[in-house]
Amino acid sequence: MGVAVRSTKTESGPIHYRYFMNVGPQHPSTHGVLRLIIGLYGEYVLSIEPVIGYGHRMHEKMAQSRPWQAFLPNTARMDYACCLPHQHCYLSLIEQHTGIKVPPRAEYIRVIAVELNRIASHLLWLGAFLLDLGAFTPILYCFDDREEVLDILENLTGARITHCFFRIGGVLADIDDHSANRIREFMRRMRGRFSVYHKLVTENIIFIKRTRDIGIITPDMARRYGATGPVLRGSGIAYDVRKQQPYSAYRDFSFDVPTGSRGDCYDRYLVRVEEMQQSLCIIEQALERMPAGEIRAPVPRTIRLPAGQRSFSVEGARGEVTYYLVADGTDTPYRLKVRSPCYANLNLIQELGQGMLFADMIATLGSLDLVIPEIDR
């Protein structure tokens, strides 16, 4: 009665006893309007078919139907958890394409803002991931810390989530002594918090048992699906755009690219936690060496995009963000493509989830750190 058994052409094997479960679009573990049609055999997952597009807004059409400046707020509305890399990517693309040089101080401020945003995003993920595993408390601890980051970013950018902080040729506001001190204070606090997370989460036996050797992504699988970011680095590939192809001011800072060894959920967790520490490291260096000078280059009032094509990649919190622009000489992009990392990272679950237990599939899904509006665009 409760279970719909669908008989298929295959008369033998578990396919015969497969039933379907509709996870989402309203489900606690899909973190947004993602729907997964899961074929189950008992509690074993036989097939996963993601259904996306519930939050599709056609950002790419918006980009090509109005001047390029008008798309700036859109960049904050794709990856709501970490929007500044998107904005950074879009503006760097436009600046490179039009030959506008950004003052070094502005680049430093951009890096600080982006790294703060990355920490906020990883904290959000950490809480949500543990919620997927059934631990209710860590998310409150994470939100407590994230609140501090959001306060700093609010003070800096004027928004808590959908920051629109970067401007062509620079940034909107300077980091003054007050803001710098707040950031330093947050860094002190955050460095002390990692031991709390390690005690509460990393060393928790149930957490280790739930994530070790679960959802192993091999480098080959990651390559076939184009996974990037912590999902890829968890599998031992040290691909970080900030390191491999330094943009903005990232060449000036020394930081490590943490990688995992097994490619399981636990490795992805460790990579993200270590990345937060590396981000703190970058922020510290940036604050120390912040060059004096302008925060915004003088730019002409109207900027036309010269005909031609160009792409630009940055490292977002979830992986490589690439914007690809085709311009025709007007001030409106002829075509703008947004490559969002979650798109490829979610794609992978179709293969990864097969044969897993349902609970492991949820854990693996959580470890991918999906932001659905970014996939739907």
């Binding site: 597009g53 599709h56 590939i237 490589e320 992978l348």
Partner: protein, 154 residues
């Protein structure tokens, strides 16, 4: 340095038209223009040399749409772009067999531009609803359409 790369040498034998630049001036290091039937072969070659698919997209230009494939090598962020003018029958071979991640990109292009991918495991709409079938929102009207050589410059 990229001129001596094993990948570049292998590509140059198959695609003599490859343009290589030492710096990523436009965001990529090498670009190839190829014909539709060459794409599975090119994709296999890139896969063998350890490149990952970054994304696939299309641009609507005169006379017909052009597909743009972006690949990246993780070790040194070496990026390569394949340009592929869509032939008259509007059908391009799919590379989803080689790069599994391409399946979604091709579905997306299929619904946004109306391009058909042959050999695709399931070419149904990805982001749009069933009612919006055939909408092709990213196709431009004739008045806004530019010809290929005006915009796709590298």
């Amino acid at each position: 340095m990229h001129h001596t790369d094993a990948l570049i040498i292998a590509l140059r034998t198959v695609f003599p038209s490859i343009t290589v630049s030492p710096e990523a001036e436009r965001g990529w290091h090498a670009a190839i223009a190829l014909a539709a039937e060459q794409i599975p072969g090119a994709a296999s070659l890139l896969f063998e040399h350890g490149l990952a698919l970054s994304f696939i997209t299309a641009v609507h230009v005169r006379p017909r749409c052009e597909l743009v494939y972006h690949f990246v090598r993780w070790e040194d962020a070496f990026r390569i772009v394949l340009h592929l003018p869509v032939p008259e029958n509007n059908t391009v071979p799919s590379i989803a067999e080689i790069y599994h991640g391409a399946a979604w990109h091709e579905r997306e292009i299929g619904e946004f531009f109306g391009i058909v991918f042959s050999n695709h495991p399931g070419l149904k709409p990805l982001l749009l609803t069933r009612e919006e079938k055939g909408l092709c929102p990213l196709l431009r009207s004739d008045s806004l359409l530019q010809s290929r050589e005006n915009v796709l410059i590298w």
